[in-house]
């Protein structure tokens, strides 16, 4: 199972290709199985690059969790999808102060 991810051009945010376009929540991403679906997704991504919506397109491998939601196989992509694994900023300071 695969899905297509990229970074949004204007702000760099991680986004995933979904039926309704590019979304920030991986849970809404289109999970692609068939080769022709991946090919169609990549064609849409290429258009999005040309239209200056996204940059740095990648196809990544995912599995489904117990709720049927996609989870990237590689740690790198899990961190991209769900954020740093450590608290940061004020949250980190408050945690340490507690």
């Amino acid at each position: 199972m695969k899905l297509i991810t990229a970074n949004r051009l204007f702000d760099g945010a991680v986004v995933f290709l979904a039926a309704e376009g590019w979304v920030a929540d991986i849970a809404r991403a289109a999970v692609l199985n068939a080769a022709d679906a991946i090919e169609a997704g990549l064609a849409a991504a290429t258009r999005a690059v040309a239209d200056r919506h996204v940059v740095d397109v990648n196809v990544i491998e995912v599995t489904l969790d117990a709720a049927g939601l996609p989870v990237p196989v590689r740690l790198r992509e899990r961190i991209r999808a769900f954020g740093p694994t450590v608290p940061f900023g004020e949250a980190a300071r408050e945690r340490l102060a507690a």
């Binding site: 991680v14 200056r52 991209r80």
Partner: protein, 550 residues
């Protein structure tokens, strides 16, 4: 400290306007990503895992309160409320939007800061001793020469497209706090027999996938020849450095493959050709730059402070903080304060916007409006009167910045690693956090003494693992994070590259492995006076290997 002149102001303002136009053209489709990428990199803008990252230059690690306050303002206004101080004395913001970056650069320009040459194959921010200008063992203030090099190297047309990036570090004292021997050029300020100031010049050091200790290329370079000789080195490198393979393109590879004696001939020949020309530094110019770094008006004080002594007796936590985080200052009655950005369990090198503002307040009130960033990812108040140390400590405690661990085992250098960096193979920050929690007991830390742990999330070695007394390198082994441990690295005047101790450790096992190494050190050292590095150099790897692998 150095203040912009009209040229600097106009130049930085022009670069902001230029980048604003480039961003607009990218968003409008007039520039492709391939065209835009080198332009954004020239302005310190990367695309990382989660977002763009902006690296802001802090020239030779020196800044004032207004500048620190601006960094906090940028963190608060344009980012997620924090910044990350790096091993190159810079700061990185992890979440800025591309559309906002021209405004951020304009705000930075308003306080004489920028992000120029913080990326790309050019001469990067010159780094130096965080105690420059105040250290008792200093021969001359290295920031003077760092500033001269900054002026010479900024958009130097010949050196904007080098084979690879180029890093210069300077120490003003024989004791090297700037890691000069792992830089492309390392300069050590010294005096010759006649008392003239000059430099020992090292070339070809570096970390990354091929760590090398720099070679001494010239034992004494007169002060006035600094630019001519540096230009000669750069010209030879630009001519002969490899451009066919990025992994072999740094000057360290050229030095290694050519040999320092052969390369020295080329450098000296070029130097002889240009040294009497326009690049010889006029005395008046050196004096003018020196004037920018003239010491502030320190109060005339006795060296001993009765208030300090009484406060130390009354507060054990303060006493410990003074013992570890306060260094000797060249002016009697004054001290250098290291503000540790390594709270137990925290991400090394991070500061929140509020903490940056608090540090700026302290600089204004107690440190003649001056701050430094160390390559060890801490902040320095360079000019604190000893009688004010208790007040500084209390203010730091109030904003969670009073960790009393400078130079100890929990003062860990760590790169952003896989939590942020697109190049990383493994996470660094969680390992640093767990290690600092494991060694959090103050009595245990003090029993261990000086011990530098340095962690990198990939072989590019931004976390300086090669020169850690204990170095930790994160690798990807079949999709799993693994950590390779090196021992015996050092980045001071006796620089050494750490040696791999054996097979790597899983995420779960690496903290325990480091603890075994530390326990072994405590068991085999002659006394508390024999620090980890000295012990390792005496006993070698064997007892550590036995402890780790049986």
């Amino acid at each position: 400290m150095y203040r912009y002149d009209e040229f600097d102001r106009d130049f930085v303002a022009a670069r902001v306007a230029q980048f604003r136009d480039q961003v607009a053209r990218r968003l409008a489709g007039e520039l492709s990503e391939d065209e835009f990428k080198p332009l954004r990199l020239m302005n310190g803008v990367y695309l990382q895992l989660h977002a763009y990252m902006l690296r802001v230059a802090i020239p030779y690690g020196t800044l004032n309160a207004r500048q620190m306050r601006m960094l906090g303002h940028i963190a608060e206004t344009y980012d997620k409320g924090y910044g990350h101080f790096t091993t190159r004395q810079n700061i990185q913001f992890n979440w800025p939007r591309l559309v906002d970056i021209p405004d951020i650069l304009a705000e930075l320009a308003s306080v004489e800061m920028h992000a120029i040459q913080t990326s790309g194959n050019c001469i990067r921010n010159v780094t130096t001793d965080q105690f420059a200008g105040v250290a008792r063992d200093e021969i001359a203030d290295p920031r003077v020469y760092a500033e001269i090099l900054r002026q010479w190297s900024t958009i130097h047309p010949e050196f904007v497209f080098l084979p690879r990036k180029f890093k210069i570090a300077i120490t003003g004292a024989a004791h090297d706090r700037a890691a000069i021997q792992v830089h492309d050029i390392g300069l050590q300020v010294k005096r010759d027999d006649a008392g003239r100031i000059g430099f020992a010049v090292y070339v070809g050091g570096g970390q990354g996938r091929t760590p090398m200790i720099a070679k001494l290329v010239r034992d004494f370079l007169p002060e006035e020849d600094l630019i001519a000789y540096t230009e000669a080195i750069l010209r030879v490198y630009n001519l002969y450095g490899r451009r066919d393979n990025k992994y072999k393109a740094r000057i360290k590879i050229l030095v290694h493959e050519t040999g320092i004696d052969e390369l020295r001939k080329d450098i000296e020949a070029e130097f002889a050709r240009i040294r009497d020309g326009a690049l010889r530094l006029p005395r008046a110019d050196i004096d003018a730059i020196n004037a920018y770094f003239a010491p502030p008006a320190w109060t005339d004080l006795p060296d001993d402070s009765a208030e300090l002594a009484a406060a130390r007796r009354a507060d054990a936590g303060f006493d410990r903080w003074v013992a570890n985080n306060v260094a000797a200052h060249k002016a009697p009655g004054h001290a250098i304060v290291t503000i540790s950005l390594k709270p137990i369990g925290g991400p090394p090198g991070d500061a929140t916007a509020g903490q940056m503002a608090a540090i700026a307040d302290l600089a204004e009130r107690y440190s003649h409006d001056e701050l430094r960033i160390s390559h060890e990812q801490n902040v320095i108040l360079p000019h604190v009167e000893k009688r004010h140390l208790k007040a500084v400590y209390e203010a730091l405690k109030a904003t969670d910045l009073a960790a009393a661990n400078a130079g100890l085992i929990t003062d860990i250098i760590a790169c952003p690693g896989l939590d942020y960096c697109a190049l990383a193979n493994a996470r660094s920050i969680p390992i640093a956090q767990r290690l600092s929690e494991r060694f959090a007991d103050p009595a245990r830390e003090e029993e261990i003494g000086e011990l530098k742990i340095k962690i990198s999330g990939c072989i590019n070695a931004c976390g300086h693992h090669h020169v850690g007394h204990i170095g930790i390198l994160g690798v990807d082994r079949k999709g799993e994070e693994f950590y390779q441990i090196t021992l015996g690295g050092s980045a001071d005047e006796r620089t050494s590259i750490g040696e791999i101790v054996g097979p790597g450790f899983s995420t779960g096992d690496v903290v325990g492995a480091v603890e075994k190494i530390v326990d072994t050190y405590l068991a085999v050292r002659h006394s508390r006076d024999e620090d980890f590095l000295a012990t390792y150099r005496r006993v070698g790897q064997r007892p550590f290997k036995e402890a780790l692998y049986g």
